[in-house]
Structure formats: structure tokens, C-alpha cells
């Protein structure tokens, strides 16, 4: 098992720079998820690690050896592709064995490894079938099995669940989690679905336009996003990001005012350097933190636009007096109706403030976390 280290890795296609100076340290046995919107470069980064694309500049180390120049099959990696990429004319057994056969492994060794992988993934009864006789979920498991037989140092997953329907996706996600514990291998997983990221990852790497926005555990990304992008990307439904102006800066807190008049003092851990009164900032608060107006919380009034009832919870979309839209989470039995006036409470402790440059102003660590 191995660690993966990227030092200032960049990738350009001609003049177009798609990966910019990525530094990353992935520990041995870690499950790391690359996540980001379409076009952010997460798949490209994975393919650079795999060796399917050339690194333009920077260095890549797998298990302490520099592998920039090595063939994919020499790097000790195995990859699970989005479309599974099973060899259509070979049986499942042959698909699993192909890589080992090419490496001229001993026949008994091949058989042992293939059957072991099949057992782990519960596809032993499918070994004689061809891919077209398999369901989507079965094909996906064969693809994973092919990776397992290589006994790689690093597993690479390129959006493996995207082609499955919703129910199957959840089920397979659980199986991958189980696999993670069973194999204890270093795994790098690419997805655009942040639910997959949150549930599977030891650490998440959020990418945007070829740059790393933040790296951290799911919870750290959720509670302490370092910038507006990460704040808006992680968490579903999205965090409310409201434009506000700085009313005043005091030691340990910053006072911001929303259009519409609401003002609240958000506690800070450090002085916000360079942010003065009148500056334009972004106030962030998650829908589940937007509560009922109680004593001591700032209030914002408005009109309900739409109520979305999901059964287990409801979401109120509120148009504030300041012409901003705020989403608030309520219980299943919420009685609010469209066009009704409503008042929402914004607890300052749950708020994030992002400076004019988009970076988060640091908050004090919550006591219970």
C-alpha cells in the first residue's frame, strides 16, 4: 500500500491550462475523493495519476518513487472506469484475468486471484458470462473485480456510480464502503455527487477550474469551508449565500447588515485583516440553521415564495424584504403556505462570513465539535 504525493502538478492541453499547480499528500490507506463541478479537472487529475495523460509540469510520486514517466501498468495502480470498459468479447473470468495474463503470471496464481476477487464481490456465479449478459450493477462489480486482481498500490475510481440508477447507486455505494474497510487500500475516487463524497471519503479534495479549493475531512469541509465556492458546493441544499455589507468591526466579532436592514454580529476567532466598515461581504448560513425567530437572534422578514415538501422535511423559499432569497428547512408538518408573510431567525453562531475576496473569515471552533 502506498502514499500518493503531487508536487505542483500542472496539465496543459496546448495553451489551455486545465490543472494548475496542484499540491496533494495522500496517506497510505486513505480514501480520498476528488469532487467538483463539471469541467473542474477532477477526472483529468485522476488520469494524470493513472498515467493516461502526460503531466506537463510538476512531480508525481507513488510509494516514494517518481512516476511521471512510468507506464500506467508500471505505477501500481488499477482503475475502475465510468463506463466499466469491460472487454466485450471475453467472459467475466477472462476480463478479470487479462492483466495478469499479459504480465505472464503463473496460471494457478491467476486462478487464485480471480476467484478471490469474485468471492469478495459476490460474482463467482457469473464467471462464465459475457458482459452483455450482465446487469449494470453486475458489470460494475466486474470492473471493480478487475482492479482488485491487479492487487494495486492505489485504486482509482472514475465516477463509477454515474451510470447506475438511483436505487442501485445507493446500494453500490454501501458496497464500496464495505470494500474500503475490507481491503484497507489507498483509494482515490472521483465524483460530481457530493453525497457520495461526504459518505465515502476520509478526506475530500474540492476542485474548481483546475485548482484545489480545499482539502479536508467531510465534516471539516461542511462546518468550516475556507471559501465561498466550497461553502456553496458542499451541502445539499446549498448554503444560503447572502450579500451583505460590513457595519462595524469589533474585536472578536464583525457586524454585517443585510439589504432590508437586518443586522447581526457574527463571532470571529481572529481580526479580519483589511476588511473595513462598508466592505461587501457574503453571509453564509445553512438552511437547517435558519430557525424560528427567537429572542436574541437576528430576524429577517419576507414572503414565502414556494414550499417544497419532501416528506421527511420541508424547505421554505423566502423572498426577504431586502429582495434576497433565503432557504429554510422545516419539519414535515410545516404549515407555511406560498405568499404568506414569514419571519426567520438567523443565529449568529451558525453564520459564516466571507470577505470581499471570497475567503472565509475564521470562526471560533464550536464547543461541541
Amino acid at each position: 500500500m502506498a502514499e500518493v504525493v503531487l508536487k505542483k502538478v500542472s496539465k496543459s492541453f496546448g495553451d489551455l491550462k486545465t490543472i494548475r499547480d496542484v499540491d496533494l499528500d495522500i496517506a497510505h490507506g486513505e480514501f480520498v475523493v476528488f469532487v467538483g463541478p463539471s469541467g473542474c479537472g477532477k477526472s483529468t487529475l485522476l488520469r494524470l495519476i493513472a498515467g493516461l495523460e502526460d503531466i506537463t509540469s510538476g512531480e508525481l510520486f507513488i510509494d516514494k518513487a517518481q512516476v511521471n514517466n512510468a507506464l500506467p501498468s508500471q505505477r501500481g495502480i488499477a482503475m475502475v472506469f465510468q463506463s466499466y470498459a469491460l472487454y466485450p468479447h471475453m467472459t467475466v473470468y477472462e476480463n478479470l484475468a487479462f492483466g495478469l495474463k499479459l504480465a505472464k503470471a503463473d496460471k494457478d496464481e491467476i486462478d487464485k486471484r480471480v476467484r478471490e476477487a469474485a468471492r469478495i464481490l459476490q460474482i463467482d456465479h457469473l464467471l462464465d458470462r459475457k458482459p452483455k449478459a450482465l446487469s449494470g450493477g453486475q458489470r460494475q462489480r466486474v470492473a471493480i473485480g478487475r482492479a482488485i486482481t491487479r492487487e494495486p498500490k492505489v485504486f482509482l475510481f472514475d465516477e463509477p456510480l454515474s451510470n447506475l440508477d438511483a436505487a442501485l447507486r445507493v446500494q453500490t455505494r454501501l458496497e464500496i464502503a464495505r470494500l474500503k474497510d475490507q481491503l484497507g487500500a489507498t483509494m482515490i475516487y472521483v465524483t460530481h455527487d457530493q453525497v457520495e463524497a461526504m459518505t465515502l471519503a476520509d478526506r475530500i479534495v474540492v476542485l474548481n477550474q483546475g485548482r484545489v479549493e480545499q482539502v479536508g475531512s467531510p465534516l471539516a469541509l461542511y462546518t468550516r469551508p475556507l471559501n465561498v465556492f466550497v461553502a456553496g458546493f458542499i451541502g445539499s441544499p446549498k448554503m444560503n449565500l447572502l450579500k451583505a455589507t460590513v457595519a462595524a468591526v469589533a474585536p472578536g466579532s464583525i457586524s454585517v447588515r443585510l439589504p432590508g436592514g437586518t443586522q447581526l454580529a457574527v463571532p470571529l476567532a481572529r481580526d479580519p485583516h483589511g476588511v473595513q466598515s462598508g466592505a461587501e461581504v457574503t453571509l453564509g448560513i445553512r438552511p437547517e440553521d435558519v430557525g424560528a425567530p427567537t429572542n436574541g437572534t437576528a430576524r429577517v422578514s419576507g414572503r414565502v415564495l414556494v414550499v417544497e415538501r419532501l416528506g421527511s422535511e420541508s424547505y421554505l423559499y423566502v423572498r426577504t424584504e431586502g429582495e434576497q432569497t433565503v432557504v429554510a428547512r422545516r419539519g414535515p408538518g410545516a404549515t407555511a403556505k406560498a405568499e404568506e408573510p414569514v419571519t426567520l431567525g438567523l443565529p449568529a453562531a451558525a453564520c459564516h462570513v466571507f470577505g470581499p475576496d471570497g475567503l472565509a473569515l475564521s470562526r471560533p471552533v464550536p464547543a461541541a465539535a
Binding site: K7, K8, G51, L52, D54, I55, T56, S57, G58, E59, K64, A65, Q66, V67, N68, N69, A70, L71, P72, S73, Q74, R75, G76, G99, L100, A103, A105, E109, R150, E151
Partner: protein
Amino acid sequence: MAVAPSSLPQPEVIGRPAVALAPSLLTRQRRRAALYFILPMMTVLTAVAGWPLARTIYFSFTNANLDNLGSQEWVGFANFVSLAQDPEWWRAVLNTVKFAAVSVSLETVLGLVIALTLNANLKGRGIVRTAVLIPWAVPTVVSAQMWNWMYNDLYGVVNAVFLKLGFIDHPYAWTASPSLALAAVIAVDVWKTTPFMTLLILAALQLLPQEIYEAAKLDGIPSPKVFYKVTLPLIRPALMVAIIFRSLDALRIFDLPYVLTGNSRQTASMAVYARQQLIDFQDVGYGSAASTFLFAVIAVFTIIYITAGRVRFDTGR
């Protein structure tokens, strides 16, 4: 773990500047493989096409003769000068151009008509499609002979049917008559090649999104207008490709005129003329000059087509 012996390169020295690196092993391996993969094909192609072409061009500057190739002398542009002054040659050029222009136009129009017919979802479509493939499947020489027989002045069926229907009042010698021979050749080419145009146009028609036609129907636009304003512009690119391909083919035609009318000067194409000089008259120098001229004409057209086509690809795609 090492079933696949990982021969990783040496770990680099720490502190190495991160500059743009040379292509990876994978890229280099593939490029080297590309060389080995393409070399055999290119070698054969050079030997079979490049070399003979070069020799032909060379011969056109000599006074080579067929029975003693190897003892020719350089004569410069003499052959080309003779060619330029040869009325038979220019007759052949004219024949070829007339042939190409009329054939390709007729084939395009007919091909369009048949393709539209096939595209319309009516019963009997399968029969038409099968029928239309037959002229294409028939070898060129066979087509020529079939029509040769049909054109026969005494016993041919064309004369018999036309006489009976009153189109003509006496039998014509279709392939021998100076005024009719070229038309006769064109008719056979149209018969033979319309399927090809039909298939290409049909393929283009079938790629068109059906929603446009449904929308036009809802808007009540009459069919002819739909054709001119919607269909035709949309298939124009494919149509242009087909026309250009066919024109290039038509300009270099040999088999059809030769089998139908031999070396007859009324129908000789440039290729027929060149071969006659080369093989029948054994004048390799002169025949090569004619061949080179034909090649140049085709080359110019091909280059125009390819560069125009590439420009289209770069901007359009």
C-alpha cells in the same frame, strides 16, 4: 505483490526544478509503435503508387517507347507542346468535361429524387432500395456490355422499344453515331452510378432531425417549400462532398467509354486517349505527358477539395 515487475525509473533528486517534462514513456512508446505500424503500408503504397507516378512524370519528359523502355532520351517539354497542339487531345478533354458535367448533374438530380422516394415512409421502399443497389453491384464492364447489347443498332432493345413507342422513326447507331455516342455513354454511367449518389444522399437525409418536419407540418408549410428551404440547405454539405467525389471519378473514367466505344474519338476520355498513345501507339513519352496532364487536373481539384474541406472542418465542426 510483484507479479508485474514494476521497473520504475530511479527516484529523482530532491530539489529538481519543476520544468515542462519530456513526453512520458507511454506517449513515446505509442509514437514508436505508430511508426512501425504505418511503415509497411506506406512502403507498399510508395512502391505501388509513388514510384510509378514519378516514373510516369519522368517519362513525359522523354521520348520513351514501349518496346525499348530504358533507352529513352530527355526531350524537355516537347511532348507537352505537342499535346497542347493536338486537336485529338483537346477533343478528349472536352469529351471528359462534358461527360463529367452532364453525368454528375443527372446523377445528382436522379439520386435526389430516388433518395427522397426512399426516405418517404411508403410501402415498397424495400423493393426500391434493393432494385437501386443492382446497378451498383453489376461490374462496370458488364454494365457496358449489357448496354452495348441494348444499344445494338440492328437487334438492340432500345431501338425496338423506341420505334414501337414512336420516339424515333428509324433505328439509331447509338454507340457509333458521332452525335449520339457521348450521350449513350453518359446514359450508362448515370444508370450505373446513380445508386451511389442515392445512398449518400439518403444517408444525409436520414441524419436530419424529424422534429423540423413535424414543426413545418404543424405550421402548414407546403412540401415543395419545405424541400427548398429546409431539406436542401441542410443536406448541402453532404451533397457537395458527393458531387465532388463523383466529379473526380468522372474526370478519370476509362472502363465505360473504352468498352462501349473503344478508342473512338467522339467519346474518348482523357484516360482512354492517354492509354491509346501509351499502349496502342507505344509512344510512352507522349502518353505519359497526357497522363501527367490528367493527373495534374485531378490533383488540383483534389487539393482544392481537401483544403476547402479542412477549412470547413475547422470552423464548422
